[in-house]
């Protein structure tokens, strides 16, 4: 007898920053919470030696934070660029032949429409600034889309990393609506030795090297003066497909095994 079932979980990260003076008074209080971008290399890192032989251990992605001065964008959208795009089959073109794509976009993810429900396709080949090939067929006309640079793997110009924290971790769970488990950790970088404008952040399993997620700070970044301390809170929310009844797929040779039933995580 054979039975199979599928479990799909999703994750999203948010961060905020603040600046302290050398005497630990607040120089600039917490920024607003903002989204980050979880990278493909980060999702791959959830499996394997980092997190155990057969584990998908999200908390291992909150071990360290890195900061840097690079401003290589993690996303670009068609509205900001003043264009729309269309897709026929696996061919995506910029309407009117305008320039939007770059050769460095190969491996990036196009997500269509506003909200979270739009189709996602990977850019597999760069043809020109107005044309790319993508990983899955689709049909879109004069569409809004965001290109997420999920193929990035590390900070552009790393300055330092830390595993130090300034507060106790907070783990919360909720069974209301879409159940989720939420991890929050507050990282503290050592006092800077000279003036520094932080423009990018990364979070992940190590203080140097590849990151799970990357952030490019809004505006001109966070300016620190000599002796100031930089603190970052990162929240990872893992959404769990629990609660609702789900039908498992079964293959019972010669039988009629009904596997419909309640399913939780």
């Amino acid at each position: 007898m054979k039975i199979s079932f599928l479990d799909l979980v999703g994750a999203a990260g948010h961060y905020r920053t603040r600046i302290k003076n050398a005497d630990h008074t607040i120089a600039r209080d917490w920024s607003d919470w903002r989204k980050n971008l979880i990278l493909d290399s980060g999702l791959n890192s959830l499996v394997g030696p980092l997190s155990g032989f057969n584990s998908v251990n999200w908390s291992t992605m909150l071990v360290a934070a890195q900061m840097g001065t690079g401003n290589l964008a993690v996303q670009k959208d068609t509205t900001a660029a003043g264009v729309t795009i269309s897709q026929t089959g696996t061919a995506v073109t910029v309407d009117g032949g305008a320039n939007f794509f770059a050769s460095t976009d190969v491996g990036a993810l196009i997500k269509y429409d506003l909200g979270s429900a739009g189709q996602e396709v990977y850019i597999t080949a760069f043809i020109s600034a107005s044309a790319v090939t993508v990983s899955a067929t689709g049909s879109h006309t004069s569409a809004f889309a965001v290109v997420y640079q999920v193929q990035q793997t590390a900070l552009q110009t790393r300055v330092s990393g830390t595993t130090s924290t300034f507060e106790a971790d907070v783990v919360t769970t909720s069974a209301v609506g879409t159940p989720f488990k939420r991890f929050k950790r507050g990282f503290q970088f050592p006092a800077v030795g000279s003036n520094l404008t932080v423009k990018e952040l990364g979070f992940g399993w190590q203080a140097s090297g590849g990151v799970f997620s990357r952030v490019v700070l809004a505006g001109t970044g966070d300016a620190l003066i000599t002796g100031q301390i930089y603190e970052v809170e990162y929240v990872l929310t893992v959404f769990i497909p629990g609660g609702a009844a789900q039908v498992a797929v079964s293959d019972v040779s010669g039988g009629t095994w009904n596997t419909a039933g309640n399913y939780i995580v």
């Binding site: 799909l8 979880i38 057969n54 979270s116």
Partner: protein, 102 residues
């Protein structure tokens, strides 16, 4: 790792509303005879685990199954009977993704 097992539930079975630690179900456990972890291909964000029950393990009226690593409980609408003439394989696939909101 205690959590790396699948189990058949016999006797009685209750599924709590949300589990983040510990066992996902209550009931009498009949752990797998062996567990095979599928290989991982980068970019797939998905991995399978297959539990195997030999002819001598897990026999009786099976109310459902639990994967204590993935913290999944699945209760059958109609219980099934496994006897010493049957082996059983259960494959669970865990997939994960980022949640993007434009």
């Amino acid at each position: 790792m205690v959590s790396s097992s699948m189990t058949l539930i016999t006797g009685s079975m209750t599924i709590p509303t949300l589990i983040t630690t510990g066992s996902p179900v209550t009931g009498t456990r009949n752990d797998n005879s062996s567990l095979t972890i599928g290989s991982y291909s980068p970019g797939t964000f998905s991995r399978t685990r297959t539990g195997h029950w030999s002819i001598s393990v897990g026999n009786g009226t099976i109310l459902g199954i639990a994967d204590t690593f993935q913290r999944i409980g699945l209760k059958f609408t109609t219980p099934v009977v496994k006897d010493n003439q049957h082996t059983l394989d259960i494959t669970s696939t865990l997939s994960w993704q980022r949640v993007l909101t434009n």
